[in-house]
Amino acid sequence: MRKITFQEALNEAMIQEMERDKNIFVYGLDVTDHKRIFGSCKNILEKFGKDRCFITPLSEDAMTGMGLGAAINGLRPIHIHQRVDFLVLAMNQLTNMVSIHRYMSGGKVKVPLVIRAIVGRGWGQSSQHSKSMHSIFAHIPGLKVVLPTTPSDAKGLLISAIRDDNPVIFLEHRWLYFTEGEVPEEPTPIPLEEPNILQSGDDITIVATSWMNVEALKAAEVLAKRGVSIEVVDPRTIAPLNDKLIIDSVNKTGHCIVADNDWIHCGFGAELAARISEKCFNDLKSPVNRIGFAQAPCPTTRPLENEFYPNAVNIIREIEKKLELETTDLSREEFYSWEKRFKGPF
């Protein structure tokens, strides 16, 4: 199968869906400028014109409610934010309106609204351009929350999100935009609410979200050479959460680490750990541990940024502790370094 990047996958999903259904439109700050939301909105203006792809004033709150109003009137809006951090300006509409409108109508309306937002990271993005906060959205009944990891998921899940008749918050990690992978050319939806086993293994399960899957896979690769067999499971859709594959995996391996791309306290990692601890109670050989951001705002300077974010090495060390392995010599391993890909500024 041909390989494309995550960003191209998003772009392809939108274009193919917009060709299929003229009720889909794309809007948000910067969706038509030359940067095109890190390339993910390439050619959309050219192909579909400015009625179906347009910028807005800096008014996140009203623009979200506008999307809701359009959605209940038969349109299928895709609202895009360059950062998740800007989405909190719309928190009122999200929690008090978007999430409840169907319920409050006794099921009479549908809300096919997609909100895409990018999780920033690195090179001084700092505290206001790096939040993910997916647990916050996932906490609110009525919203669906999706975090794609692979290019194939980016396309397949975005197609499903667009076709879904519910509000879907779709959070894309900035660094994943560069990743390449096999992606079908045809528009092939991947069902929401199905976790994905990124790698099978027997000794321990890592449940990871978004970018942390990249780190988990790296950890798995490194430890595979030492004979440790790691299963990496990506929940992908975190609300509503279908945990069957996750529970099966942990029941099989008996050990679990949750690596969430967010703060730990009251995060989605807590939800995973709570469920797994409860449902795998009899099969767990060690407690479920959690890995996540340092419990602080994200600092700007690189050395503190390095401390703030967990990585493959942290995962490896945690696994070693858990399985009582010797400390692996990592001096010859090459880990992901954003020096290579992401120099900023944005």
Binding site: F25, D61, A62, G69, A71, R102, S105
Partner: protein, 320 residues
Amino acid sequence: MDKSKLSLELYKKVYLIRKSEETIIKYYMDDDMKTPVHLSVGEEAIAAGVCHATGKDDQIYGTYRNHGIYLARTGETDNFFGELYGKKTGMAKGKAGSMHMFCPECNFLGTSAIVATCIPLGLGGAFAKKYKKEKGLSFVFFGDGALEEGAFWESLNFACLHKLPIIFVCEDNGLAIHSHIKDRQSFKSITDIVSKFGCNVFKEKSTDPEVIHNLTLEAIKKQKENGKPCFMHLKYYRYLEHVGINQDFKFGYRSEDEFKKWLKVDPVNLQRKKLLKIGFSEKEIKKVETEIDKQIDKSVELAEKAPFPDCEEVLTDVYS
């Protein structure tokens, strides 16, 4: 006789609203309607006047203070009382209650108990009309308090920028719960400001439903002419407490004298007197009233008898 038919129709609407609210007041203490009510008593001219000018293709959005516009727009009371009683026969099976009245069949598309939140929603309705090149306007009702929320200004700017088919209807009772407009707003004339965004503006403090009705027709015409959104600033007096069924002059935050002045031009009385003046007999009017009374009584009875939704309903309708 067209003119007098209009007068009668408007009277029916204001009477329906007044009577429905009085019916709520009558039964509220039975504690069967377990839902906070923000009554429309005093506001009937606006609800009837504006809604009567709307057509099938027009849409309506509002706030928790929505009984007036709901009744004026839909004319129906079965689902209305069903919803107030929290029954299966309510338009949302009791899930919504008084603060979220809703009727997609009548393009009555959303009301909300968070101030100003339906303004962006109405914006989206107007946007959809423009996008789909459909006829009709989006009418968004809100109180004077909503003017203080950022969402109002953001919506106003977007509506004017895109020349959306939207009519903003500001129902100004000078109060937000118990606080006076002068303690909340620094500007003297909202219409002066709004017009500078590129909005057609209209203002009125009449309690005459026909005046409001004509003004609305004018606004609709103007919108069609120049494509710009309209903003209607309409004053009225809230007779009762903010939420609940009682008068609250005893708390001293406003004077009963003011109320008495407004009562002299009570919209329902006003319209009734007008009917008499233009030739309707007391008997004719009574007949109309009795019919509405009966409709309401029947609806209340139905609602009381109707079953509650099944318990499983708590988890349905969260997602499609």
